[in-house]
Symmetry: C2
Subunit: 243 residues, 2 copies
């Protein structure tokens, strides 16, 4: 089964200071998962050049690809392009191709701030698409996305399509037992099926079930065998329903 890993780097003081809730991370998590991609890290960091560069450098080395969200735009606090350039030891240059595109899609006279939107890391790839005229900037395995949710989501979908790989299969068990009561069965199941991704999620404010168990694998046969094994261990009266 093919594996593909990813990190999301969210750049924005407005999120760290609680001014707005981030919605891009949750969107990306779901979209990447359904594309079979393992999102292994989300980092929310400030509009700080050194911090952006360090985080992007580390994630680019550790994961198959990296997506950044936010910090692109024409003002002083839009530092992601420069941060990504610094992560790879590249200069920031004005892209003539991008400058032409921006002028084509803008009204009013060109100004220095607008020109800043055409500044990208040297050697960056401009990924064009039909949905949005502004291309997705790519440097090595890093994709620089805007933070505005509508734009982020459209571009993230394109990237998820590009990296789509073997899917995850999931089965779910809802139980009325407590985590403490079933922990030993979960350990037994993992001893037999060490490659299983097994999650145990207690719910405290729901009268229907107490613990939701999720079993996941990219190998459907393996998943089904692990599921049958665990169901065989759990007290029958503790299993409310399965999916």
């Amino acid at each position: 089964m093919n594996r593909c890993s990813c990190a999301l780097v969210v750049v924005g003081n407005e999120i760290l200071s609680g001014k707005i809730p981030d919605s891009n991370a949750y969107f990306a998590a779901r979209e990447l998962r359904s594309a079979g991609v393992a999102l292994e890290r989300i980092a929310v960091i400030p509009d700080d050049l050194d911090v952006i560069a360090a985080e992007v450098r580390e994630c680019a080395a550790r994961f198959d690809f990296v997506v950044t969200s936010g910090g692109v735009g024409p003002t002083h606090d839009d530092l992601t392009m420069e941060g990504v350039a610094r992560a790879f030891g590249r200069k920031v240059i004005v892209s003539d191709e991008l400058a032409a595109l921006i002028n084509e899609h803008s009204s009013g006279k060109p100004n220095p701030a607008r020109l800043k939107m055409a500044e990208i890391p040297e050697g960056a790839v401009l990924n064009q698409s039909e949905e949005i005229w502004f291309p997705t900037i790519q440097v090595e395995n890093v994709y620089v996305l805007p933070g505005v949710p509508q734009l982020f989501e459209t571009k993230l979908r394109m990237i998820a399509r590009r990296y789509r790989t073997d899917p995850y299969f999931i089965r779910t068990i809802y139980t009325t037992a407590s985590e403490s009561a079933i922990a030993a069965y979960l350990n037994d199941c993992l001893a037999q099926y060490p490659e299983l991704m097994l999650g145990s999620y207690p719910k405290f404010d729901d009268a229907e079930y107490r613990v939701k168990l999720t079993l996941e694998s990219k190998d459907r046969g393996y998943l089904d065998r692990a599921f049958d094994h665990l169901i065989g261990l759990l007290p029958r009266e503790a299993v409310l329903r399965t999916e």
Copy 2:
């Protein structure tokens, strides 16, 4: 003015895989901000011992304090206590004090899984409070909080009270100009007031304003002078309203 910095480490495969949205980060961001604390990093990481240990170690060294969310409980995927212990090169031990508390508040017979809840890093501090009988485990400058939002929120409020410091003051300007049109004024303002925290947030789906500007400082006089300076620069017809 006193500064205090913090990082939040959210541990949980269920968030990275998009099964549930995290709400603890947004809650913590607002609560810490209103306590005058600078949240400078949010990391969402998997239920992986080495990853937890590395992230906690790095954050504990860089920030005044660290809060973790999730990964505490009696099952196989609850690895935060062990991860925090490893971050500081400590052993995990069974706390007799915590074991007694757990037995006091539990029904049914003690079992190995329940005993796991009494395992904490050696030398950890048990912070008692009136609101929740389960103490908040503290190792050096790291606080280990449960991921369940009701519990996380109550405990986070206690920590925010403990670290409360000089507040942030904020003023807001709503403008009908584009970011490109006002970028130069923002740069001018920052050149004069380099300590100002100045945010520029375009809105694309709102007919009322195009850009929201936030000005922040822990020094109210400095903030007011920077605000007056920027208002003096902006074209009068571009300022919709201020707060």
